[in-house]
């Protein structure tokens, strides 16, 4: 009877969720991808995070010299030099030496390489080995068949000494699978593909586990990012389960009128999407939401991607809310950033970091549409799903805003992407009546609760938002062409579905 394959946690953030526990312990995993896809970082991080978790490691380099590697990863916070000194990291330096001329005549093997790796593994008592990269081995020796055979022996030798190994190999084109030298097919049981593709003029990095022999893994491509100060972070999207508890506790939207429309307020762990054209009052809704939190002694995190901190504070003052005081009371944290400053994956990590540090009860994002500008539609959708489940898990209420492209009516792209994910949708619309622009609000959807179905007029003054009566005699507001309906017509429609007397 053979033992089931055990997993070794890599401690690469997010990866172990995708890999259902980590890499197969005692086996070799091939990490393949085009140039610049992050292979060397993966190989190095696998070792570095192992060391941080108390293990030891051996790095076999065929490309860069050990000095170069140490220098390249120093910014990630990995001090290889000190690990070497502490006897927990060893290099096997197989980088090219242009100085000595070499001729190959007749049969050979890579016995010396294996002996050196074994020696290094024994010296530092390593559990992890990375070999970067196989291509360099192939370019060093002409006899590909012999090299393939030798790699097979190497893989089996590594298995015998019980180390968990990551090997990298580069592909010149982004094939679905298979590698240039045909290494994956028969040398290793486990293959991971890293991709770095250009989609809609935006870079998108993904990681896919192509196969894990004899053990499970999540399927498909998972986005990842490479942090300048921490290496690879995988975003384990479909690993997120819909296990959030559903809360019946209501919290105030910060506006008594709106609470009324929503049947008593928002749910504690719900995500609300507020959609409207520019100037309809989305930022106001965020401000009210935060004000409601502060009034209840709850902390709020406001993430602004459209306006500066100063603008947000001034706006709030104009609506009778004192952000400065809330901040001093520790009830508010405001983060403002240009969407273009980072990739959307990095924004997500930043938001999560802020949430974990500040532990808010409410999160407002103004606006999602600004973030959408800097991402592909797929990345954006993944961002929203991930953020939504992250805040729900923590029973945080989220209020996201989305900007509609046209002033009157119309749905935004943002909405169509995420409307099914959010629990509630509130629409803010301009209503043109008798040569005047007025504002309307309606609760389009409120999961798990009755709510007001009318489109009501609202006013904005120095106290914030005031919701008034319904536009009873106006039709076509949501369609974007409001017009007044004659009183008789209104009367007829309102009795249309009444039972016959």
């Amino acid at each position: 009877m053979t033992d089931p394959i055990e997993k070794l946690p890599t401690h690469i953030p997010g990866f172990d969720l995708v890999a259902l526990g980590g890499l197969s312990r005692g086996r070799t995993t091939l990490v393949t991808g085009t140039a610049g896809s992050g292979k060397t970082i993966f190989a190095t991080q696998f070792l570095a995070h192992g060391i941080l978790a108390g293990e030891s490691a051996v790095f076999v380099t065929f490309e860069e010299s050990p000095t170069e590697i140490c220098r390249n990863v120093a910014s990630m916070g990995w001090d290889i030099g000190s690990w070497e000194a502490a006897g927990r990291w060893a290099f096997v330096d197989a980088s090219p030496q242009p100085a000595e001329e070499t001729l190959v005549v007749g049969a050979f093997d890579l016995g010396a390489l294996m002996a050196r790796i074994e020696h290094a593994v024994r010296r530092v008592a390593a559990q992890r080995v990375s070999i970067d990269s196989l291509n360099a081995v192939f370019t060093r020796f002409d006899d590909r068949a012999a090299v393939r055979h030798e790699l097979l022996r190497l893989v089996s030798g590594l298995k015998d000494i019980g180390v968990t190994t990551v090997m990298t190999s580069e592909r010149s084109v982004d094939l679905r699978d298979g590698s240039e030298y045909g290494v994956e097919e028969f040398v290793v049981d486990n293959v991971i593909i890293l991709r770095n593709t250009l989609e809609d003029e935006k870079r998108r990095r993904t990681l896919e586990i192509l196969k894990f022999r004899g053990t499970g893994h999540q399927k498909g491509e998972f986005p990842f990012t490479v942090l300048a100060d921490g290496g690879i972070v995988v975003i384990p999207l479909s690993a997120i389960e819909l296990t959030q508890k559903s809360s019946n506790i209501r919290i105030s939207s910060g506006n008594a009128d709106l609470d009324g429309l929503c049947g008593g307020g928002f749910f504690r762990d719900s995500v609300i999407l507020v959609s409207g054209a520019t100037g309809t009052g989305k930022t106001l809704m965020c401000t009210e939401f935060i004000g409601g939190g502060a009034a209840a002694g709850e902390r709020s995190l406001l993430l602004g991607y459209e306006e500066s901190r100063e603008q947000l504070f001034r706006n709030a003052t104009g609506w009778g809310r004192d952000f400065g005081q809330m901040e001093r009371d520790g009830l508010l944290r405001v983060g403002c950033m240009y969407p273009e400053a980072m990739q959307i994956e990095d924004h997500l990590l930043q938001i999560k970091k802020d949430i974990e540090q500040f532990k808010p009860a409410r999160v407002a994002v103004d606006s999602l549409s600004a973030l959408e500008r800097v991402s592909t539609s797929r990345s954006f959708r993944e961002f929203v799903i991930d953020l939504t489940s992250f805040i729900k898990e923590r029973e945080i209420a989220g209020l996201f805003t989305a900007t509609t492209p046209s002033l009157l009516g119309g749905a935004s792209v943002t909405e169509s992407h995420i409307s099914t994910i959010t629990d509630s949708i509130i629409l803010l619309r301009y209503v043109e009546l008798y040569g005047e622009m007025r504002r309307g609000i309606t609760v389009l959807k409120m999961r798990g609760s009755p709510h007001d179905k009318q489109i009501r007029e609202f006013l904005i003054d120095s106290d914030g938002m005031h919701i008034g009566n319904a536009f009873r005699n106006v039709v076509g507001i949501l369609a974007g062409n409001p017009r007044t309906a004659p009183a008789g017509e209104l009367d007829r429609v309102s009795h249309l579905f009444d039972a016959e007397a």
Partner: protein
């Protein structure tokens, strides 16, 4: 980094050709390489000094010299250092590459 690194054109014992052969274990290929190279060296008598190193026994030596494949012979002297990988079965190629003063068959397209 030659252990015998000095400017002299011969080793302390007077050998003009100082060779180190790295092999893995005592397998057929290792033995063949040792036998092939030793027979060449024997033909040079005092001129040639050959050391055989089994990387399984002394892996640190392979690490220090960054030997990857076996069998590998490193010609430490005369300078510049040269390497030859393989089982040394093609005698004439070995002789030419290491520039050993031994008779070879007429060159065919060899430099």
């Amino acid at each position: 980094m030659t252990p015998l690194g000095n400017d002299s054109s011969s080793a302390p014992n007077g050998a003009a050709f100082v060779l180190t052969l790295y092999v893995t274990g005592q397998g057929a290929r290792s033995q063949r390489a040792v036998a092939n190279l030793r027979s060449l060296c024997d033909g040079l008598g005092e001129l040639c000094e050959l050391t055989v190193i089994d990387v399984l026994e002394r892996p640190q030596m392979a690490e220090d010299e960054r030997v990857l494949a076996t069998p590998t012979v490193i010609r430490r002297l005369p300078l510049p250092p040269l390497r030859l990988i393989g089982d040394m079965s093609e005698r004439d190629k070995v002789v030419r590459w290491l520039d050993l003063p031994l008779p070879v068959a007429a060159a065919e397209g060899e430099a």
